[in-house]
Amino acid sequence: MSDFDRRDFLRLAGIGGVVFASGLRAGVLGEGWRNQTIGNDGTATEEFYFVQLSDTHWGFDGPKVNPEARGTLKKAITAVNSLEKQPDFVVFTGDLTHTTDDPKVRRERMAEFREIAGQLKVKTVRFMAGEHDASLDRGEAYQELFGDLHYTFDHKGVHFMVLDNVSDPEVVIGEAQLKWLQADLRQLKRDTPIVALTHRPLFDLYPQWDWATRDAAAVIDVLTPYQNVTVFYGHIHQEHHHMTGHIAHHAAKSLMFPLPAPGSAPKRMPVPWDPAVPYKGLGFREVEAEVKKAKYEITELPVTRG
């Protein structure tokens, strides 16, 4: 039973609204059948899923950490392309490339990364910068190749906000972006489903390892009045879940090397490659959005199956 089949089965067995699963009434609802849920009140609501990939560090070179450094991203893209049902979109949550002091090499890495990401079957791909992409030149190269450092988009009733907490080397969102965020939020209802996408955590996860955003508290303050806010981020190269009040924060795995759990090692050095279990600790995730309830079901997937 594939992951999809399993989840469809679980949905059918679940409590609440009836969900149309593979094969059921497909002829009635046509192309959009999979995304239609009938709630208890009989009204149709949207469901969809997206894929989050993170910390691909294209250009990284460290055979003891990842001897397949030039192949891991490509394998992950093959894995996404082979998903039985394709996601509505894919988002890369930063550190697309590994940093370099050479502006020319930085642009070359970004161009290579963009070309590889272009091999995704899904054509809606959202990017954001990590500090490796944007901190040394305040996002200059990133903006040339990928566009805005912060922006919003809406998808089937969910308001997505891509926030930039990396291009300022001081590791802040900053006053200007905070004002932009406040202005954007003012246009929303208090119960609008909101997903914030960031690279670094929006809370003090472990500042001893620089796993924080210095003005995160100010961001959380402006988000807190909104009832349905969820944050997906990267940076820490491992799955992690945390709550700040009613706001959930979910960190994703890397596609280059895993890092130790916060504070579990003297230094935040990459976890060495395990030849017995290649790609251990690496992976990507599917996020299924149940829009009406502003709920997100996360499924972690490996780079390779086997």
């Binding site: 590994h98 940093t99 370099t100 002091d101 500090e131 901190s135 040394l136 990396v166 080397p169 001081e170 590791v171 003090d204 500042p207 001893q208 390892w209 620089d210 210095r214 003297p266 230094k267 935040r268 050095m269």
Partner: protein, 121 residues
């Protein structure tokens, strides 16, 4: 005495109260002064030892570019810029080993740029 007051008033006017307080504290004999050098991608020394309850002044300099120094367990952080001495003061109130790190992204070895503060009883 009168001359001292005049000098202090002149310094207050020139520097402001906060800076004057800091300037005067530099001369405090009770503080332990520790010098730290920052450069890509290390602090030297990488481990510093202090005593619990003993006031400490860290004097940080950079040999190449702007770095950060963050010692969150004691609420201590500063930027470290070339050509200047950054001073931070604190009194460690608990024993143990505490990590500090550069928190201004400085390049491909940034994640390695960290050290340990050892506080003894």
């Amino acid at each position: 005495m009168k001359r001292t007051i005049i000098v202090l008033l002149a310094l207050t006017a020139a520097l402001g109260t906060a800076k004057l307080t800091a300037a005067l504290k530099v001369t405090s004999a009770t503080e332990k002064v520790i010098r730290l050098k920052a450069k890509k991608f290390e602090f030297t020394p990488g481990e510093i030892t202090v005593k619990k309850g003993e006031p400490v002044v860290l004097e940080l300099t950079s040999e190449d570019r702007t770095h950060g120094f963050n010692l969150p367990d004691f609420g201590v952080r500063t930027e470290v810029k070339p050509g200047t001495i950054s001073r931070v003061r604190f009194t460690p109130d608990k024993p143990g080993k505490f990590g500090f790190a550069c928190d201004v992204f400085c390049g491909s070895g940034h994640e390695d740029m960290s050290g340990t503060l050892v506080v003894t009883e």
